[in-house]
Subunit: 203 residues, 2 copies
Amino acid sequence: MSTRPVAGPEIERLIQLLSKLPGLGPRSARRAALHLVQKKDQLLIPLAEAMGVAVDQVCVCSTCGTVDTSDPCTICTDPRRDASVIIVVEDVSDLWALERASALSAQYHVLNGTLSPLDGVGPDDLNISKLVERVSEGNVSEVILAVNATVEGQTTAHFITDQLARFDGVRVTRLAHGVPVGGELDYLDEGTLSQAMRARTNF
Amino acid sequence: MSTRPVAGPEIERLIQLLSKLPGLGPRSARRAALHLVQKKDQLLIPLAEAMGVAVDQVCVCSTCGTVDTSDPCTICTDPRRDASVIIVVEDVSDLWALERASALSAQYHVLNGTLSPLDGVGPDDLNISKLVERVSEGNVSEVILAVNATVEGQTTAHFITDQLARFDGVRVTRLAHGVPVGGELDYLDEGTLSQAMRARTNF
């Protein structure tokens, strides 16, 4: 009895595809699909159009590797940003997270992954040579390695540091390690705590 | 600084529309949009197509009032269902919930709301006259009022019962009230408990 369809296969397919979105499970995808078909004019039609536009226009920036609807992307062509600082991130989601934090008005470079020999990911699989090319053009004064504090992230950071060592005058930095803002010491791991203690600053 | 765009307006619009889906907030909409544009071939294109199909084909069944891609709908045209029993629900979401439970293989009738004089919702605003018409055709033996156990739901149930009183041989029933399966007595309200006690059955 549980396989009886309650609606046409077109709606079932919509539910099935929506359930692949992060944050939506099978149940919430069903609710979302129902919401869409019941709000056809206000939501379904505009969203279908916005997705059609995205299908046509989304591309990867040939300079920094982020996704956008123009190439070069919105960030690479923003004249208000400091073009002499490049923030290197693993993924576009990290770029968006740093932009949400409004940490620094600089340029970015998206690696699209980390070095991982076990998974067969080598330097040529990442967007590293383009980074070296950008730095070799001579206008960069600092490269900030905003990679994750994982083994793979740190391995990748070391590799990039080696690649950029020959450029004099280019400072390679990394994010500070320490206690997260709002974090409680009791819940932190020993590595973070000892790092935070070593890198203590004046109050 | 927080207003600097990280991507073109087309992607911002996609995020904004996705955040209107139930279950997705501004943050998860951003994650979903990124997931979509990064999985263009596997997800964005199929989902855009599925939505386009839905835009073209979704309609309201002129018999029962549910949403589907055909009229009469999948349920109304299903020959395996018992056409002599009509389950009356407030919304399509209730229909889908009952179908998930595989409770009964019957026909449905969606009211699209409840009587609510304070909100200006009268009998003519609901899909009630069509229900009376279906019953008057003479093939119906039972109408199950599967409305919510709220004041509005019960008011609507009484109104429909009055409308159907003139049809002899049509039994009007409602869902059982009682302890939810898996529910703990300690957490239940007095109304449910006393109802469950009055309607107790042999063990």
